[in-house]
Amino acid sequence: MNKTVNQKAWFFVLPVVLLVAFNAIIPLMTVVNFSVQETFGDNMFFWAGVRWFEQVLQSDRFHAALGRQILFTAIVLLIEIPLGLAIALTMPRKGPWVSVCLVLMALPLLIPWNVVGAMWNIFALPDIGLLGRLINGLGIEYNYTRQIFSAWFTMVLMDVWHWTSLVVLLCYAGLVSIPDAYYQAAKVDGARPWAVFRYIQLPKLKYVLTIAILLRFMDSFMIYTEAVVLTGGGPGNATTFLSIDLQKIALGQFDLGPAGAMSIIYFLIILFFSWLFYTLMMKDEAR
């Protein structure tokens, strides 16, 4: 059979190519240019070669920030994905409660990120915040501005509160789209709820779960606003994630060269993991 060749479709892709060029490729090229030079401002640049890459890759500060970032993302994914799936499974599929649940679930997603940070900052204060007072009232010493564990606990709790809804909504959309015939067939065969979940719902949710994991991975790996408003990277450097460290180097110290090198390394890590997740999850689907 002869394949129809029609190259006109490329013209429809052109606007998006131009948009991506301006908002992603040109800035990325600039970062690459910065990463091999030294500047003292005023558009004066001096060639530095790969020195900044060496410096960043061999620095303990970068290793520590990367370690914290990976730990945070792992914790957040391990909590949000199963929790989101569980909530989506318990939500009603029909009736008046559907809209109520959906609106309630969407609420955290509608709040601007800096407001989320500010809300949790006050909510968790040990002296006047509701959460802080409550935990201290239970006899547990809790102060996220001084204790590392408390800071991490608050950070994870905030992220779970803010973003589990996204996983819930995605999984819910996936669940609703499963035709009733599957459930009827399962009922005829006398399948238990676990079997229905394992052999009908989970396989059907594969695509949305892929998207949920990808989105949550990328977002949590790039977390900045909420974290900087909540703890500012403290106590000490305990919650200084990659993006906060990057901001300190780029805008705090105005070291554009090392910041450029760090941005590229950061970008490559995200690109690699996104590719890996996507490839692993789509592997069986291709056949």
Partner: protein
């Protein structure tokens, strides 16, 4: 004059321009190759992945970037060693992956 201002903002250097030109030429080269000798359906390689030529170029480039980063982090300059490894790696990816 505006052009010059734009370029000075982007702080171009010859090596970085050559780098992006190389990537661009890779894409053009792949397009020409695909036009004259289509790669066809994805191939099932040794990693158990179904890859097209474009996927293999992506895996080669991304992997090479990490080879260079690993070398810089563990050994340092000069970079002839990772260049050789990256070329062998890219060849292997195109041949077997």
């Amino acid at each position: 004059m505006e052009n010059a201002a734009f370029l000075s903002w982007m702080a171009w250097t010859w090596p970085t321009a050559a780098f992006f030109l190389f990537i661009f030429l890779c894409l053009v080269g792949m397009s020409v190759w695909e036009y004259y000798s289509p790669g066809g359906t994805p191939r099932h390689g040794i990693l158990g992945l179904d890859t097209t030529r474009g996927d293999r170029l992506f895996i080669s480039l991304l992997g090479s970037a990490f080879i260079f980063l690993a070398w810089l982090g563990l050994v340092g300059t000069p970079l002839w060693g990772p260049l050789a490894i990256a070329l062998v790696y890219a060849f292997a990816v195109f041949k077997w992956v």
